[in-house]
């Protein structure tokens, strides 16, 4: 299968300091790729580099387009929907307004897409007129994913969707993401601390350490790797 997103020798910088030292990474069309690694390994920075939110060098290709020189807004317009660390909820807007913002720059009728989202996340339909800031953490994560999907993206980028959520809710959310990936044929790039769950769902996996890719391969191969099992899966 062809890769929809490909990073070649990507470096990223905060100010003068280099935090990614040449990353190679690919996300298959309609596949799910997971990025693992400890805190500070550069997972979030990799996502931010893809979306033009940090200064980067190297080659970032998305569906035949080069993204390195593009603004974050343009990249979003190309079909990269990024749910950032902390979810990026517009807490002062209502649930429905949050969804409309997702559909703002995208083609297609927002109302139709909103109904589709309410189908995947019925709780959001119940809360549509509430302020997004009043939602629980799990509901806000669902809202963030629904907002991103309102963009009709080709690639969904999720930065630690499980952060701060109860395991039961995490499983529910991952279940819906998996369902959406199959039904909407959207590719997913996932950063996740919960390695066992992520490796179960993903088809490819990369392990980052201090700005380098140290291991990569099929998710199954990584799940069976004794060193990864010891460091990240705990058995």
């Amino acid at each position: 299968m062809a890769a929809i997103l490909e990073l070649r020798a990507v470096k990223a910088f905060y100010g003068q300091s280099e935090v990614l030292h040449g990353i190679d990474l690919a996300v298959e069309e309609a596949g799910m790729t997971v990025l693992l690694g400890a805190n500070g390994a550069g997972k979030t920075t990799t996502l931010r580099a893809i979306c033009g939110m940090v200064r980067s060098e190297g080659e970032i290709a998305f569906g035949g387009r080069r993204l390195e020189r593009c603004s974050t807004e343009q990249i979003a317009g190309f079909g990269v929907a990024h749910v950032p660390e902390g979810r990026g909820t517009f807490i002062g807007l209502t649930v429905e307004e949050n969804l409309r913002i997702g559909g703002y720059a995208a083609a297609g009728r927002p109302d139709e897409k909103m109904q589709l989202m309410y189908g995947y996340f019925p709780i959001l339909a119940q809360r549509r007129r509430q302020q997004a800031g009043a939602l629980s953490g799990g509901e806000q994560q669902m809202l963030a994913i629904a907002r991103a999907l309102m963009m009709s993206p080709r690639l969904l980028v999720l930065d630690e969707p499980s952060f701060g959520l109860a395991p039961r809710i995490v499983e529910a959310i991952f279940g819906i993401v998996e369902r959406i990936r199959r039904e909407q044929r959207v590719s997913v790039l996932l950063v996740e601390q919960n390695a066992s769950l992520a490796l179960e769902m993903a088809d490819r996996a990369y392990l980052l350490e201090t700005g380098y890719v140290v291991t990569s391969g099929s998710a199954k191969a990584l799940a069976d790797d004794p060193q990864i099992r010891r460091s990240y899966l705990g058995y």
């Binding site: 979306c51 807004e73 979003a76 929907a81 990026g88 517009f90 409309r100 913002i101 997702g102 907002r147």
Partner: protein, 289 residues
């Protein structure tokens, strides 16, 4: 009693002007965390444009609409040309830029139009209503302000661009990730603020007479109104502006000489900052460090 009602009503008319300018201040503050000290002088300059157009023989309301359009474009241009380059600079740099703008507009107006007072035409006939309880001028100013506020409310509440502007002000990074062009939204915000200021200037000019320093006191009252309402709340800015207008008028009539009225604003600012720093409707800003 009659005099009290009279004073309250003319206070509301003055307050409507403060409310408009306060709203302009709040719009820019919410979008960029910046108090635009040039807001008053921008409004004054807009008023001179209206004056020039009326002087050239245009009907008042035609001049009004053209002035609003020119101010809107001018506000966007100011954002692009002088504010955007200091967007990522420390906040004091941007504040100094707005103070510089204040001086530039003031001096330019003085240079083009001189510092002498000009009479500015009122679009409303000068009559009294309900047994001299209120004047048609006051009613006119209040109605124009209310119409403008209603139009702004509808724009921000019901249009996609209005929603995108609110989103960009609230969480710029997340808005960018949704494909909202945040820079353009900021420019639009400056355009709106300039146009709102123009309305305030045109409404107040027949009372104060037009001169380059006309808006100095008005800006102080507007700032007090914005602070009283909570500097982050548009509704608060409007209500705060009205409260300041009425308070200023009543205190000036019953308690102190009207020459001291401006002091009322300063005292109000101190009271708000000491006892209720978030104003009546503002929210405490929590920053994670």
């Amino acid at each position: 009693m009659h005099q009290l009602l009279q004073q309250i009503f003319s206070g509301l008319a003055a307050g409507a002007v403060y409310a408009s300018l306060a709203l302009a201040l709040v719009m820019i503050y919410r979008a960029t965390d910046l108090v635009n000290f040039a807001q008053g002088e921008m409004a004054m300059f807009s008023t001179y444009i209206a004056w020039t157009l009326v002087d050239a023989g245009l009907p008042f309301w035609a001049a009004f609409v053209i002035t609003l359009a020119v101010s809107f474009v001018g506000g966007m241009a100011i954002e692009r040309i002088v504010i955007r380059p200091v967007e990522n600079a420390p906040i004091l740099t941007a504040v100094v830029v707005t103070i510089g703008l204040l001086l530039i507009f003031n001096a330019t107006a003085g240079w083009i139009y001189s510092y002498t007072l000009q009479e500015f035409p009122s679009p409303f006939p000068d009559r009294t209503l309900f047994g001299a309880l209120m004047t048609t001028r006051d009613v006119g100013v209040i109605v124009v302000t209310l119409v403008m506020l209603a139009a702004l409310f509808c724009f921000f509440r019901f249009t996609a661009t209005g929603l995108a502007m609110r989103a960009a002000a609230q969480n710029p990074e997340s808005a960018r990730l949704c494909g909202v062009r945040v820079g353009r939204m900021l420019a639009l915000g400056w355009g709106f603020a300039a146009a709102i200021g123009a309305v305030a200037g045109i409404m107040v000019a027949p009372v104060l007479f037009l001169d380059p320093n006309m808006m100095g006191g008005v800006l102080l009252y507007a700032f007090t109104g914005a602070l009283l309402g909570g500097i982050t709340s548009p509704v608060g800015a409007v209500i705060g502006g009205l409260i300041v207008g009425v308070t200023e008028n009543l205190v000036g009539t019953y308690l102190i000489a009207s020459q001291l009225k401006l002091t009322v604003a300063l005292i109000l600012i101190i009271i708000v900052l000491v006892f209720r720093p978030n104003g009546l409707f503002g929210t405490a800003v929590v920053r994670r460090v």
